[in-house]
Amino acid sequence: MVLPPSGPPDTSAYYHVAYAWAAVLYAGYAILLWSRSRRVRERLRVTGGGQSDRDA
């Protein structure tokens, strides 16, 4: 295959978007999970489920 004389094609925009998107996706899921867990822990505390923890 003949390489273009100007070097590789400029496809960097797609690569930048893909790397940024993947980082947002993974971080977003981790934040979502943390937020869900915080809500559940708060409700557990209110309903008395955390009582045994504080006593422990």
Partner: protein, 245 residues
């Protein structure tokens, strides 16, 4: 297994899980590993001569696909364990792995078109591998929707275990689809019987990304499992409170 034993098991690990942070040392290792993999791929890996910088999407795309396979493999194995032993921990682990599997499948199905557009000239094609991966995404999403739709815990676990096992059966077909069908998707470059057809510096980047992504996958499944323990304990407390009234 009776529903009473579910409650007993759910409330027992509560105090332990509440004290344990949601994200532990493994998650920290995964974040550091992913950051290092990003830096290596962006700054220390050469640009491929024909595809240009878009080829670097490979380092994200393929490890995400392999992590999705691992997650859905865990769903299948733990579903088999649940159907065999009726252990609620296996069901909770299957649920956790299913959710994380959907995350990685989403990464695969979104980074793929970003690579395909500059190289194939199209965002999407109804090629065997792409279509089967999309089917797997829908099946995994359906698996999670099913879990949310069935009230009875034992029935939910049983139905979703069967769906989880059936969904995982697609994985070998997806991997072999490039051999079985006439497809636009490239053949495996690393996961094949012969030596990987990739320069060493690119292969090291790929393996680093794969290791970091696998650790991230395990760390997220662990965190999601911990959340599941807390949520089940809360449900147990609330239902016990409701019965009291």
């Amino acid at each position: 297994m009776t529903s009473a034993s579910f409650g007993g098991e759910a409330s027992a690990p509560l105090s332990v899980s509440q004290r344990a942070p949601l994200f532990d040392w493994l998650f920290v290792v995964a974040v550091i590993g992913m950051a290092m993999a990003y830096v290596r791929a962006i700054f220390f890996t050469p640009i491929e001569a024909l595809q240009g910088a878009a080829q670097k999407i490979y380092y994200l795309h393929v490890p995400a696909a392999l992590s999705a396979y691992i997650s859905l493999g865990v769903v299948a194995l733990t579903s088999i364990v649940y159907l065999w032993l009726g252990d609620e921990r296996a069901d909770r682990l299957a649920e956790s792995a299913g959710e994380v599997g959907l995350l990685f499948l989403t990464a695969v199905l979104t980074t793929g078109p970003l690579w395909g557009k500059p190289i194939w000239g199209t965002w999407w094609t109804w090629d065997a591998r792409l279509t089967l991966t999309l089917f797997l995404w829908f099946l995994t999403a359906g698996y999670l929707v099913l879990r949310g739709a069935v009230e009875d815990r034992a029935m939910r676990a049983r139905y979703s275990a069967v769906l989880g096992i059936l969904a995982a059966l697609l994985i070998p077909f997806i991997h072999l689809s490039v051999y079985l069908f006439n497809t636009l998707h490239p053949m495996p470059i690393v996961l094949k019987p012969e030596k990987p057809s990739m320069p060493t510096e690119m292969l090291v980047t790929f393996l680093g990304f794969f290791a970091a992504c696998t650790v991230l996958c395990i760390a997220l499944i662990r965190a999601r499992y911990r959340y599941g323990v807390e949520r089940d304990a809360l449900r147990e407390l609330e239902s016990a409170g409701g019965e009291g009234y």
